[in-house]
Subunit: 120 residues, 2 copies
DNA sequence: ATGAAACTGAACCATATGGTTCACTATAAG
DNA sequence: CTTATAGTGAACCATATGGTTCAGTTTCAT
C-alpha cells in the first residue's frame, strides 16, 4: 500500500491537462487579460472561461484581481517550479532504469559470442 | 482564436494528474512489475489497475509485454522528455513576465525617492 | 484432466469535467 | 435615471473518469 497522495500535483497536472487552459497560460505570458478577453480569444462563453480561470487559479498557475467590474488575470506567483521539480525527479527514475537496461545490454553484448548467458 | 491543440500534452498531463498513476511510475522506477503486483501494492482490483496501466501506456509513460499469463509493466521509452520540455517552455514565459514586473518595480523605486527598499 | 492464477472485457455506478443558458448583481457611461 | 458592460452563480447536459463486480479465457501446476 504505497499510496502517497500529493494533492497539489493532482490539481496542477489536471489544470495542465486541457488545451484551452494551456492556451490561456500562453496568452497570459504575453500580457494580462480580462475574463472577457480570454473568453473571446478562445471562442467560448464568459462563464465557461471563468471556470477555466478558476481551475488555473486553484492550481496557483494564475492570479486574478477584480477592480471595478473587470477581473484581470495574470500568471500566478507559483511559476511552474513545483511541477518542473516533480518531472525532474521522475526523469531521474527513468534515467536510473535505462542505465540499468544499458548495463544489461552491454553485458549481453559481451557474453554474446561465448556462452548463452541469460538475465532476469 | 488561439486554440493550439496538442493531443499528446493532453493525454500525458492527464495521465500524471492521478496519484495512483504517479505512484505506479515511482514503483516501476524501482523495478518492473506485473498487473497483479501493482494492483496489490495500491490496494485495488486487477481490473482497476489494468485501466490505470492502459492510461499510462497510452501516454507512452509505460510499456507492457505479456509473456505467458503475466503482463509485465516497465517505464516507457518516452521518458518525460516531452513533458519536461513543455514545462520549461512555460517557465520561460513566466520568467519573461516577471522580468517585466521587475523592470516596472525598479522604475517605481527610481521615481519614488532617493532611498529605496527592496522587492521580491 | 482439474483447478488455481493472471488477465481481459462488458456492464454498471457515482462523481467530475467542460461546456452551455438564463437570471442576477455591480459598475460604468450617457 | 437608464442602459450597456463585465462578471457571477445556479441549473442543466453530455461525456469522461475511477472504481467496482461478474463472467470469461488462457496458461501453469498438479
Amino acid at each position: 500500500m504505497v499510496q502517497f497522495h500529493d494533492a497539489h500535483a493532482d490539481t496542477a497536472f489536471a489544470a495542465l491537462a486541457d488545451a484551452t487552459r494551456r492556451g490561456v497560460l500562453e496568452r497570459l505570458g504575453r500580457s494580462d487579460a480580462s475574463i472577457t478577453d480570454l473568453a473571446q480569444s478562445f471562442g467560448m462563453t464568459l462563464t465557461g472561461m471563468k471556470k477555466h480561470v478558476a481551475v488555473l487559479e486553484q492550481a496557483g498557475l494564475v492570479a486574478t484581481e477584480k477592480v471595478g467590474r473587470v477581473r484581470t488575470c495574470r500568471l500566478g506567483a507559483s511559476r511552474l517550479e513545483a511541477e518542473a521539480a516533480w518531472i525532474e525527479r521522475y526523469r531521474a527514475l527513468w534515467a536510473a532504469r535505462f542505465e540499468a537496461l544499458d548495463a544489461v545490454l552491454a553485458d549481453l553484448k559481451q557474453n554474446n559470442s561465448s556462452n548463452g548467458g541469460h538475465h532476469d
